[in-house]
Symmetry: C2
Subunit: 269 residues, 2 copies
Amino acid sequence: MTSMIDLKECDKTDASELCESPVDLSSFTSFLESFPLQGEQLYRTVFDRHAEIIQTQKARFAVANLEKILSATFEVSAVSGFDRMSLRDLSRQTGMSMGAIYSCISKKEDIALMVADIVRLSNDLIQQHAMLAGSTWQSVEQSIKFHLYASTLLQPWYFFLYFETRSLPQAQQEESKQIELDGINGFEAQILAGVEAGEFATENARTVANAIVVLLEDWYLKPWKTKSLSINKEGRYELQLGEIEEKINTYNQSIIELVRKLLATDRSE
Amino acid sequence: MTSMIDLKECDKTDASELCESPVDLSSFTSFLESFPLQGEQLYRTVFDRHAEIIQTQKARFAVANLEKILSATFEVSAVSGFDRMSLRDLSRQTGMSMGAIYSCISKKEDIALMVADIVRLSNDLIQQHAMLAGSTWQSVEQSIKFHLYASTLLQPWYFFLYFETRSLPQAQQEESKQIELDGINGFEAQILAGVEAGEFATENARTVANAIVVLLEDWYLKPWKTKSLSINKEGRYELQLGEIEEKINTYNQSIIELVRKLLATDRSE
DNA sequence: AAATAAAACGAACGCTCGTTCTATTTTTGT
DNA sequence: ACAAAAATAGAACGAGCGTTCGTTTTATTT
């Protein structure tokens, strides 16, 4: 009996089954080929993980509508916030009727919960990947890169969760804080392991860990800082894949370099 | 004629007149004695700078009510967000009637505009102060300290502006971005001056400047990261002055140390 | 103490919100 | 091609929103 209850909750927490083959971090392009949370697969994951509340049964319809709903949500609420976005705005933006929208959600808040769930899942994938690396320095580098890649691909999702956490039930608000703390704890543990191994030197591992996390957040929260954007015909920002690759790489290098200085073991290196 | 129009706008941008005597940064305690934006003076400034929209004429009443309104706004919207805070919530929390509230504001949005104005003013004071320091390193240190002190004292204001920017008209949204960019530009200029003078060494002044700004933001955005808080009888967090002094100092030291490493000229130091 | 001005009150208004519900259209299975 | 099932449309509902305004209370002046 208890195992059935566990199973019911289980589909919300399992990250492992999503990603049997390891994600390839050698470049953003190859990341895109191996990261599971994107395109149709991404919205199918949303559908699978919220099957109980979604009235639409056929995956074909649900997946297409979830994509419309979530994309429109990101577009509208990036400017005015989730609370100010009415479901009539959403109806207009998606071209769907109220009825159609309400067959993918049971209430407005569900949209925010779906986003939170996916971001949590993505972060689980990052955490999971960090275990695979060889040396400590490599594992730090890999974690940073993975985070940059994932939060670039899922930028609207990460951005939304950060700014709309307060539209969530308080339990989920606490959970969001915990995700950030877990991120810091993860880097702190890696750094301390490196210090132990004589690979790094620092007196304040937590400060360095915190700086890394905060700089990673900066990347998806303030794209206007680093990205010079071109605007397409729909009035949206848009970059060529090659340009994105280059931008990420530049930012990645600047974080790596910064961390390297903060953790340098000797002055002659 | 044009000069009169200029004058009308002028009271929203002048920071100089507020602060003839320089702010004392030797400790948080002495900062509190010299920083103008606090206590009754703070709300009187709000009153003076928004006299056109405030119906209440006597400063005595307006100042008291503004304090109630803004404090309640911070309290309520820190949990649920500005949009979800209804004016009936505000009425309940302040003990004021709708009519009383509406004699201090002309519309809900005004509350957010007042906050934005004060934060902008506070940032102007910081910028202004940076000019006074001797060496470049001292001016960087002073700017960081000033920012930490001001954003501790005005934490709810800074926090509110960061998370509620999207409740503002778009012109003010752009302005908020500009404030952040100005902050980065300020530190970048200081760093570049230091490099010029041979005091610092770095190949990426902007990255370092950005890291400083982001860490300063972290201080007022995520107090739960660094502060171990005690809870008073009203259920609010509360620290002794001495504890605050110590917390700020610790965080200040960790930023300074981090920046020092990033800007070190040689490896033997 | 009376007269006047300012401030506070709170019910009422019009509107928009999230949500529901039934009729209609589209898809599916045979 | 047709019946059953699923998905969509959009009008309708009640709650709650920001805001207004006539009245009452409080403060100030005469």
